[in-house]
């Protein structure tokens, strides 16, 4: 990559980033149950509530103005669903109306997702308030050839930015779940200082439960 080095910009996107995050979620995290609900649910319900209620945020990474990746986090997993129900009942009513017209499997996925959020309160580590919810990097920008040539790791930059945001919100640690057999993500979070607390069935899949300090201990 001769000539000018690409420029990385990491921004806390707020509500303006909800649509972009929904699109990237749909594109990059195809195994997520939420993805099966479609872009309308991700943008108009999930990310709109997450950010609109001030429970979390979206950070976008741009390389030379092109969207390269995203990460989302919440400062309070425990109250997410109850706050949505309390303050966005009209949104939930709209979801219910949408579900009425969709196949039973879609409605089941919504219910399953809601139960998953509720069940987290009983999981070990529920005392940790912050959580990284979703993260993805566009293929081209996680290609080792790009990273080598540009000197940019979009993934590391996104994680550092999210750590800083959670730290600014008073969180000393964040929790996150990875697929147990996903060696890339597990290696990445280990590099950033995460430790694995346990492995087991979480949300219907074999997962690792990781805890990541928001400031690096040396």
């Amino acid at each position: 990559m001769p000539g000018k080095k690409p420029k990385l910009e990491v921004i806390v996107a707020g509500l303006d980033g909800a649509r972009t995050a929904a699109d990237l979620h749909q594109l990059l995290i195809c195994q997520s149950p939420l993805t099966r609900l479609g872009p309308w649910f991700l943008a108009d319900v999930y990310y709109d509530c997450l950010i609109g209620l001030g429970l979390g945020n979206i950070i976008l990474a741009n390389v030379d103005g092109e969207t390269a990746g995203f990460i989302t986090y919440t400062l309070d997993t425990k109250t997410f669903l109850s706050e949505v129900a309390r303050r966005r009942w009209a949104t939930l009513a709209a979801v219910a109306k949408q579900m009425w017209r969709k196949p039973l499997t879609t409605a089941a996925t919504v219910i399953q997702s809601a139960l998953i959020v509720l069940r987290q309160n009983a999981e070990p580590g529920a005392e940790i308030r912050g959580e990284f919810l979703t993260m993805g990097v566009v293929d081209r920008f996680r290609d080792p050839a790009f990273i080598r040539a540009s000197g940019i790791s979009v993934a590391k930059s996104l994680i550092r930015a999210a750590q800083a945001e959670v730290a600014a919100g008073g969180g000393q640690n964040v929790k996150l779940f990875t697929l147990a057999n996903a060696v890339g993500p597990n290696a990445l979070y280990t590099m950033m200082g995460a430790t694995k607390r346990w492995s087991g069935m979480v949300r219907g899949v074999n997962a690792n439960y990781l805890v990541l300090p928001t400031t690096r201990q040396r």
Binding site: R142, D143, P144, I147, R148, A149, G151, I152, S153, A155, K156, N181, V183, G184, P185, N186, A187, L188, T190, M191, R216
Partner: protein
């Protein structure tokens, strides 16, 4: 063993060999991230004729850690 691992890390991360310290890690080299890690381990496996487990791949995120795994795996 150390020199060969350093060469692999240099070639994979794009850092000049002279700048790869004996204790280099994913923390000290920005371009050593998850995709790079998979390539580093694949190159080390080929170079030394060994096979890392998934747990070793996740944990071997520094040159000393890679050397540690290699010493365990080498006959």
């Amino acid at each position: 063993m150390l020199d060969k691992v350093k060469q692999v890390v240099s070639a994979t991360t794009g850092i000049s060999l002279a700048d790869v310290r004996d204790d280099a890690s994913a923390e000290s080299i920005e371009t050593w991230d998850s995709a790079t890690q998979i390539n580093i381990v694949a190159a080390v496996e080929e170079e030394f004729g060994v096979r890392f487990t998934d747990d070793e791949l996740v944990a071997a995120i520094s040159i000393p850690a890679i050397i540690g795994v290699l010493k365990r795996l080498s006959p």
